[in-house]
Symmetry: C2
Subunit: 352 residues, 2 copies
């Protein structure tokens, strides 16, 4: 296969694990028949971006361009594109392609496809180099991996729905959280604050667990019925055995048994943060109440569209802080200190 | 409440964590209106008996009498007993009472009742001392915790159904294992050999995992379609991502991630052995295929009766080695070396 015709676009990239991100020019393919070309308006800043830029997952190739919470406007479509036209507002999340034929793909669960192509850091089938993410003025994506944005949402605040949103929406739906359920959300960051909003929207009683007493009022504003400071042993003990479901959004190493023990019989704890170290699970925490400990990864394309539509109907977006593209390195440092309420979103118009 | 009238019965007991078991005389209550008095014919030897006798769970009070795989004949019934009459063959498993009023009890899941009374080592509500198990000539149990034995089963070989049987039957049923499913059973001991039999009877494709190549032929005889030696990395890799369900019966500390990685998307690994140490779970093993890691504990009374009835219809019993009561200490040592195919059962007629 010959290399497709390319065009240049401005981006922010890093040349190594230890360099700051800085302005660069990258190539995108000129749209093929099934491609959609998108002018990126906003890109959310996910903690994964930082892990990837700094090679903390040990697979980054450089130069690297992070960004997988992309919202933009269609600027061109291939001759065979059916679902989108120039001018549409669209989104792109963590995936830009998959094998299309495996059982996972056929079930609309492309995130579990062995051949999934991530928005950054996967092998780009067209250009035979790693995929480059959304810290850029433009991107080209096959139409099946492009999502339609609801017309009524603030586009900047909607960008984090593409990763933080679907990552929390999907497990809450999979485990059928709804009215009559008592649901815990562990951690009030980018993921956790979306978890609180969705669990509340689904009709559950929502309890937010945080290590920071200062987050109580904000958690309640976001939808939590109750806030528990997880370092308060008595407060934790008061909730023992009472939860139907707990969504654990914390990526730092932490004691999951403290949360497993809060579940009812047959309750589920689902991890969406990914601690680096193996998680120590006390067998008796599981056995004596038939509890389960699971993990969940973003969501497939059909469910991501469903989530966006749900957010449109319910007016749900992320709480964000807009930044300029050249503030990204400072934003990473602030993110490491949890100094963000609750997601940075890059205004791509500032990448001039 | 005054202490009820008691009678004496012969038993095998241990006076301390470091003493062998030896002949003793213990007291049982004379049956109250709702009690069933049972002459014990056979009692299976569960690994829990050894943990308990040696205080490895740190709650044993002495003198201690283990034994919770009890099969016997009814010798007396209280005036209010409706379900049993003198001469019936009956079973008693790990539980002899519970609170009867909590949601778990009302759901027939007495094993999760906070007030469950275990057959040995719980506080006996009647006698205000620890309950004493089935290494004895006779036991008295409230009728709601007595099970009916199928008429066609060998009673000695049926005794292990009361713990090893229900412990493996219950999770296979809860997670709805059946035709079209590929099921792994980890470990071929007392629990594992029952797991193989049940999974096969439920119509699944059954793969037995063992560290011992010598167990292959026997596992196939018991019902396994395939046997994988878990130390064979290539054989393990060949099964990656292919199992719907894995039942892990191993109590020794071991790497569960090796089995988690064999599950399909949305697959379940359920622990019924209880390793002493916390189990290290790699978050990515769960997240990247939405797998779950759960535990299961014996089963409630209704399901235990259902299991016994199923065994009666399908002619399922344990593979056992009969021993005399005075061989129990040797049996414990052999059990520690996994030198048993696959359950010791005490012939209580030898406790003369």
């Amino acid at each position: 296969m010959s290399k497709p015709v390319c065009y240049s676009t401005k981006a922010f990239a890093t040349p190594s694990a230890t360099s700051p991100l800085s302005a660069a020019v990258i190539e995108r393919r000129v749209p093929t028949a099934t491609d959609v070309q998108i002018q990126i308006l906003y890109c959310g800043v996910c903690h994964s971006d930082l892990h990837f830029a700094r090679n903390e997952w040990h697979f980054t190739q450089y130069p690297a361009v992070p960004g997988h919470e992309i919202v933009g406007r269609v600027t061109a479509v291939g001759s065979g594109v059916k679902k989108f036209k120039v001018g549409d507002t669209v989104g792109v999340g963590c995936l830009v392609d998959s094998c299309r034929t495996c059982p996972e793909c056929r079930s609309g669960l492309e995130q579990f496809c062995g051949g999934m192509v991530m928005t950054y850091g996967s092998m780009d089938k067209h250009l035979n180099r790693p995929t480059l993410g959304g810290y850029a003025q433009s991107i080209v994506v096959t139409e099946d991996f492009v999502l339609r944005m609801p017309a009524n949402l603030d586009l900047a605040a909607a960008a984090p729905l593409l990763c933080a949103g679907i990552t929390t929406y999907s497990p809450l739906r999979k485990w059928q959280v709804g009215p009559g359920h008592k649901v815990g959300i562990v951690g009030l960051g980018g993921l956790g604050h979306m978890g609180v909003k969705f669990a509340r929207a689904f009709g559950a009683r929502v309890v937010l667990f945080t290590t920071s007493p200062g987050k109580t009022a904000d958690a309640q504003r976001l939808g939590a019925h109750e806030v528990v400071v997880s370092k308060d042993a008595a407060a934790m003990a008061a909730h023992a055995g009472s939860f139907d479901f707990i969504l654990d959004t914390v990526s730092a190493n932490h004691d999951v048994n403290a949360y497993l023990n809060l579940l009812k019989r047959d309750g589920h704890l689902v991890l969406v943060g990914a601690p680096e170290q193996p998680v120590a699970v006390a067998p008796f925490s599981l056995i004596f109440a038939r509890r389960s400990f699971s993990g969940s990864l973003i969501g497939g394309l059909p469910e991501t569209q469903e989530m966006l539509d749900f957010c449109g109907r319910h007016g749900i977006t992320a709480d964000i802080e807009r930044i300029r593209m050249d503030q990204i390195n400072t934003a990473y440092e602030r993110m490491l200190k949890s100094d963000v309420k609750y997601r940075f979103v890059i205004d791509m118009a500032t990448l001039a």
